[in-house]
């Protein structure tokens, strides 16, 4: 075990995957010589050569489109979209092509590929560096969607994603690249290297897709969340001394609904929490499933806390972000309901 940041963990996952399998090839905007604007691929070009890790033109469509062709030709592309906010030019290739290639060809052509992208807010990045578009992937049959919340998971889930035979969208909550942000932007951040969750097992240690992780155990309510919001939830639970299950989904598709249902049946109350805009966010799907499976155990309606239904503002970052105060207020209401 070694302490490292999420960035280092991601870099290590690349490094291990590339060393184990010649077919793993890494590319994207600024990922080659420079090593990525968040440095997640730093050193790979030097170590594996420009044929295995290279810079691309600024064309998300081209990045994903060529990756699909490569994946069909026995290469295992791991590509970076510089910010999730810039994935839209590639969306057609993801939805119409990557997601359906196996189906369309009855397995004759497949698309084992990972599309990594930094996601989420909290860095004063405004509308084009803050989005959380996970629901735009979860609605698409044929895509898997992963959101790690710790360095160990980032490493392990990325390894599993690279080894997965199907296309995986890998969303990296950029606000927690360096440490577990609990939503208290006015307090100093504790870096991963000094945090108990910063421990990362050595070597080739994939974490299977589709398994949620209970990050806190309690009796009064279940908080279902993922990514940065895991740490906001944990912070609120600790600070307010709540007795709550905090479920870190880790993978949205395939979804570990059984873990969620087991918890909610026990607690009887459920809060669903994410950064993305509320309407048609992934929280809607979670809520729909929870109310269906746990209806007779619920003591109050499932409550969603999410980003407002507006574009992501700049100055209003902390008004927009569903931080500790908003979360706590809603939990209190939920516990009283």
């Amino acid at each position: 075990m070694a302490h490292m940041t999420m960035i280092e963990a991601i870099r290590e996952a690349h490094d291990i995957a590339m060393a184990r399998d010649d077919r793993v090839v890494v590319f994207g905007e600024d990922v080659g010589f420079f090593g990525g604007v968040f440095r997640c691929t730093a050193g790979l070009q030097k170590k594996f050569g420009a044929t295995r890790c290279f810079d691309t033109p600024i064309s998300e469509l081209g990045i994903v489109g060529t990756a699909i062709g490569m994946a069909a030709n026995d290469i295992r592309p791991v590509v970076e979209i510089q910010f999730a906010d810039y994935m839209y030019p590639a969306y057609d290739q993801l939805v119409s092509e990557a997601a359906r290639l196996r189906y369309r060809s009855a397995g004759e052509f497949t698309c084992p590929m990972v599309v990594r992208m930094p996601t989420g807010g909290g860095i004063f990045g405004a509308q084009t560096h803050s989005q959380s578009p996970e629901a735009l992937f979860t609605h698409v049959a044929g895509l898997k969607t992963v959101v790690p919340s710790t360095p160990a998971d980032a490493k392990g889930l990325l390894l599993a994603a690279i080894e997965d035979p199907d296309p995986v969208i890998f969303l990296e909550p950029k606000r927690i690249y360096n440490g577990p942000f609990d939503g208290h932007h006015d307090r100093p951040l504790v870096g991963w290297k000094k945090h108990e969750l910063g421990d990362v097992p050595e070597g080739h240690t994939p974490v299977p897709l589709g398994k949620a992780m209970l990050r806190s155990h309690g009796e009064d309510l279940t908080i279902v969340t993922y990514g940065t919001m895991v740490h906001v939830a944990l912070g609120v639970v600790t600070d307010a001394g709540l007795s709550a299950d905090v479920i870190d989904l880790r993978t949205l598709v395939p979804l570990d609904i059984d873990s969620v249902v087991a918890s909610v049946k026990r607690t009887g109350r459920c809060l669903v929490l994410h950064e993305a805009t509320l309407t048609s966010g992934f929280g809607a799907e979670l809520t729909a499933q929870v109310q269906e499976e746990c209806f007779y155990h619920l003591e109050a309606p499932v409550k969603r806390v999410a980003g407002w239904d507006t574009p992501y503002p700049h100055a209003g970052e902390w008004d927009y972000f569903p931080g500790p105060e908003r979360v706590l207020r809603n939990i209190e209401a939920l516990l009283e309901a």
Binding site: R104, S105, A106, E108, P165, D166
Partner: protein, 408 residues
């Protein structure tokens, strides 16, 4: 300077009711265009994007630098492929009209392009076709029964009735699964070719697109990546003059030709008579050799004419003169190759008539077999259970639950 601005909306010169007239289309004489070395500087061969490379002259003789070395047997095979494709089209069109399937798309007049091109690739190369290159399969001896099964979406369909008719897929025959989204496969072909280079393999890829579809994003992405990484790919544009109801001037805009698009990327571009089987083979060979020699991509514009409707859902008499197809000055690719074979004394009118009959019988026999399995509206259809397979390699618990709910 203060005159009001006006919007320029390109219009074809002729509309229904007008007499077809192609006198404005300059057609260079067969054999008149030079064949440069494959490692030419693109700037030195710019003119090849503004002319039409043609091999067969009016008498059916193969003339000029581009006349490829293809022997009689191979040419007779080529003729047979085109005739098979035309007969296949005719039968499937009728089958659709009879309600045996939902949809069909023909190649009428464009047979030389896919049939000819395929023969210049080798096993292991990969085409990324549109819906109008079934000749790539036929010229590679893909079983026509499987094609029909696909069109009928019956139990014998290798893709389990999941795709619209004519959206074939065959890895073994270098035919990538067809998408219904135009142009998306252009950058994929480039990526496939890049993978070949990454692996140090020798196989190349071929991308396909229609004139209308060059307006799509993906065409640009394909060109950018092919240009940057010198990908071993042949970038084909089939200019059959029409998108659906929209003539090529809408997509082409102010550029003289579609081939010219390559020049903005430093990609050598050839423009070729798409109805001249020999010319198609010649340019395909040139481009494939370039790609295989690590010289990078080539853009090829095939000049042809879509004689039939866009698909069975289309009625071209609503937007163009009816007889335009027969007036098309580049002629019929089958008749032209037939005449060439006759001119080189490797074929005859009689053998042609006989071949027509044989091919018809062969296609009919295959069709009977396919229909014995089933059509979209009768017979053995794929099991609904297939619907839940191949979404992922291993079905998620969620999909297993849905499949149970469906009871299959």
């Amino acid at each position: 300077m203060t005159d009001p601005l006006r919007l320029h909306v390109p219009e074809p010169t002729l509309r229904p009711g007008d007499s077809p007239d192609f006198s404005g289309v300059p057609i260079p004489k067969a054999g008149s265009v030079r064949r440069p070395p494959i490692d030419s500087d693109p700037e030195d061969i710019r003119d090849l994007a503004f002319t039409i490379i043609r091999v067969m002259d009016r008498k059916g003789l193969a003339v000029g630098d581009w006349a490829p070395d293809v022997d009689d047997d191979e040419l007779r095979a080529g003729l047979r492929h085109m005739m098979l494709l035309r007969e296949y089209d005719a039968r499937m069109l009728t089958a659709q009209r009879q309600g045996k399937t939902s949809f069909y798309m023909q190649h009428l007049g464009e047979e030389a392009i896919s049939c000819g091109f395929r023969r210049e690739l080798v096993a292991g190369d990969m085409n990324f076709p549109t819906y109008r290159q079934a000749g790539l399969l036929i010229a590679d001896d893909y079983p026509m029964l499987l094609m029909m099964n696909q069109v009928y979406s019956n139990e014998g369909d290798t893709v389990h009735g999941r795709q619209l008719p004519v959206f074939y897929s065959s890895k073994d025959h270098g035919f990538f699964s067809i998408s219904g989204n135009l142009a998306t496969q252009y950058p994929q072909a480039v990526g496939w070719a890049m993978a070949s280079a990454i692996k140090g393999a020798t196989n190349i890829a071929a991308a396909w697109i229609g004139d209308g579809s060059t307006a799509e994003n993906d065409f640009h992405a394909g060109l950018v990546f092919a240009s940057t990484y010198k990908a071993p790919v042949v970038l084909n544009i089939v200019n059959n003059q029409w998108a659906i109801s929209t003539f090529q001037g809408i997509a082409r805009g102010g550029s003289g030709t579609f081939a010219a698009r390559g020049h903005g990327f430093g990609i050598p571009a050839l423009r070729v008579d798409g109805n001249d089987y020999l010319a198609v083979r010649a340019v395909a060979r040139w481009a494939a050799e370039r790609a295989r020699s690590n010289l990078g991509p080539t853009l090829i514009e095939y000049v042809t004419y879509r004689v039939a409707g866009h698909s069975t859902s289309d009625d071209p008499s609503a937007y163009r003169p009816e007889e335009e197809g027969s007036a098309w000055p580049l002629g019929d690719p089958i008749l032209r190759l037939r005449d060439h074979l006759i001119a080189r004394e490797a074929w005859s009118e009689e053998r042609h008539t006989q071949a027509e009959a044989e091919i018809r019988a062969e296609v009919i026999a295959t069709q009977k077999k396919a229909e014995a399995i089933g059509t979209l509206t009768s017979g053995r259809l794929p099991s609904p259970a297939h619907m839940f397979e191949d979404v992922f390699e291993t079905p998620t618990p969620h999909l297993i639950r849905q499949r149970h709910e469906m009871g299959v």
